[in-house]
């Protein structure tokens, strides 16, 4: 597995700009702005009464909101990365180099998929954690200027931080599992059509939907089977319901185990399994295609 790790490391070197350096720069800027605001006395929040009342809740919402932003960044980034990396070896004649190395096409493509679903989420997770620290510091500073119970905040927020961190990790894992077939679908096309993979991977299902609606109208649900399945499958399990709602309207701190339980029950694991099998087949077919192409 040393080879597999080395292949992932190579992907990291080539893509660390978007998934490591850029987030770090953004977070550094956030801290700098925070520092500047503090130094220029703008964090006097007599006006922000709510922070007085519920610093913990504000922290949790802040942490979750920023993480949600990073989550969207991740999903977009992973899709673009998948589309790009699966044909990157064709550029600058690099394919011949890879073909001269004793690693199968399948293994190389799998290492790119692993980068997409493990490494990159891992990097974004660190961005989320640092954002959490940011919010923690921000709320801490604001709360301390109003003289509210800082001691309580420090320890309560710390535990909350841990709970949210664990929950975010679960969300990341679940997202990657849930969206695996879509990532693989886009990636697989890139092997054949390169930069046209994103448009093409949207076009093909749309054509299928169109065909179904034109020729088989009325035989299925409104919009057709395909459309309904796809729109349903693209939606991540609604986290605002279930535990999300419960937590929001309570005064309890964020509870990872309750969240985890809720999440696990909300996910359609059968679909996840089908998705994984689909992804595997797509990557396998892509590797067989790649095995036969020597155009650079």
């Amino acid at each position: 597995m040393k080879a597999f790790a080395a292949l992932i490391h190579r992907e990291f070197i080539e893509h660390k700009g978007a998934f490591f350096l850029a987030p770090m720069v953004i977070i550094a800027l956030m801290f700098i702005v925070l520092g500047l605001a503090y130094v220029s006395g703008r964090l006097d929040i007599e006006d922000y009464g709510i922070i007085n009342a519920l610093p913990l809740r504000i922290f949790e919402i802040g942490f979750l909101a920023l993480s949600f932003g990073w989550w969207l960044y991740l999903l977009g980034g992973v899709v673009f990365y998948a589309a790009d990396s699966f044909w990157a070896d064709k550029r600058a004649n690099a394919m011949l180099f890879w073909k001269s190395m004793p690693q199968s096409d399948f293994k190389i493509l799998m290492s790119k998929l692993a980068t997409a679903t493990l490494l990159i989420p891992g990097l974004i997770f660190s961005a989320m954690l640092l954002s959490g620290v940011f919010v923690y510091v921000l709320v801490l500073v604001m709360a301390s200027t109003t003289g509210s119970n800082v001691g309580f905040f420090i320890s309560a927020a710390f535990w909350s931080y841990l709970n949210i961190a664990v929950s975010l990790l679960l969300v990341l894992a679940a997202s990657m599992l849930w969206y695996l077939p879509f990532i693989a679908w886009v990636a697989g096309h890139a092997v054949a059509v390169g930069r046209w993979s994103i448009p093409l991977s949207i076009l093909i299902p749309m054509v299928a939907v169109l065909i179904e609606n034109v020729f088989f109208r009325g035989m299925g649900p409104d919009g057709g089977h395909i459309w309904n399945y796809l729109t349903h499958r693209l939606e991540f399990p609604q986290l605002e319901e279930g535990y999300g709602e419960e937590w929001f309207f309570s005064t309890q701190a964020f509870d990872a185990s309750a969240f985890a339980l809720d999440l696990i029950m909300r996910i359609d694991w059968l679909q996840v399994a089908i998705g994984a099998v689909f992804a595997f087949i797509v990557v396998y077919l892509a590797s067989e295609y790649r095995r036969r192409t020597i155009d650079n």
């Binding site: 080395a6 070197i13 073909k99 690693q103």
Partner: protein, 293 residues
């Protein structure tokens, strides 16, 4: 099938759509040889190499180190190294990152040897590969390949576009530091004159067929070149049925296949034809005439 044949091909055939590019090649390449593969662009040279390297699927059988290259490319590449004419190292890595990567994905690569082969060049370990000149990338790629303990080395036009000092250094390095009795080398090049004395065997490929496959020793015994200045003698020479004739600077150069040199020495200066002249001569023959070593 010879015991120690590194490559064997029987009825190797390849078509692209309706066009057949290889017409059933048969050949065996024994171990420890330095083979030259010469042919025009489009003659089937690259397709043959691709078949050997498992890059393309073909009809017929081909075995490299006993394996089917297309089915087992990844395993085969542990013992086969190749460089092609296109500088194809990953551009976004630094040299030291490339070495680290290859050490981890290639069981027979020695990072120490690779660094060693870079001494005396201007290539720094920290340099980004995309910033290296074409000649330096070729040197780097060669250093990588020579640091791989491979049984078969395939070079496809490795010196194309490189200046003469690089080319000389390239081949010198190969002969000095790499070639042992256990290694086999297969080279294709347009600049065949440069390497003709390095070769132990030669293959000419024309329109998907092997029109020559011989040891260089046999080539040197079988083919003769006669240079004649006297037109009368030139006429007599023509009577001996040369396979090739050309007049340059008032001299007539003729190439003979299988004619006794004793007969030729009376007519003019006899020598061994160089490979490129022989190539031109055989390419002009109306029929493909495969000769075995």
């Amino acid at each position: 099938m010879t015991e120690n044949a590194i490559i064997t091909a029987h009825g190797l055939r390849k078509s692209f759509g309706r066009k057949e590019v290889l017409h059933g090649l048969d050949f065996e390449i024994p171990a420890g040889r330095i083979y030259g593969l010469v042919g025009h662009n489009g003659a089937g040279k690259t397709t043959t190499l691709n078949a050997i390297l498992g890059l393309t699927d073909c009809e017929g059988t081909i075995r490299v180190l006993g394996e089917d290259p297309f089915a087992r490319r990844a395993q085969l590449m542990e013992n086969v190294a190749f460089i092609s004419d296109v500088a194809s190292l990953p551009r976004f890595l630094r040299v030291r990152e490339l070495f680290a990567l290859i050490s981890n994905i290639h069981p027979n690569f020695s990072q120490e040897k690779a660094r060693d082969f870079l001494t005396g060049t201007d290539i720094r370990m920290d340099a980004k590969i995309k910033h290296l000149s074409k000649g330096m990338i070729a040197q780097l790629h060669l250093a990588v390949v020579m640091a791989i303990d491979a049984k078969l080395l395939v070079l496809d036009e490795p010196t194309l576009g490189l200046d003469i000092s690089y080319r000389k250094r390239f081949y010198r390095r190969l002969l000095e530091d790499y070639m042992t009795e256990e290694r086999t080398l297969l080279i294709t090049t347009h600049q065949v004159d440069e390497i003709e004395f390095m070769l132990s065997d030669i293959m000419f490929i024309r329109d998907g067929e092997l029109i020559l496959h011989m040891q260089m020793e046999t080539v040197n015994e079988k083919f003769s070149q006669l240079v004649v200045t006297d037109p009368a003698k030139a006429e007599r020479a023509r009577g001996l049925r040369p396979v090739f004739e050309e007049t340059r600077f008032g001299q007539t150069v003729l190439i003979f296949d299988g004619v006794d040199r004793a007969e030729l020495t009376q007519l003019g200066q006899v020598s061994t034809p160089n490979v490129s002249d022989l190539f031109v001569a055989l390419m002009q023959r109306p029929t493909a005439n495969p000769s075995a070593a």
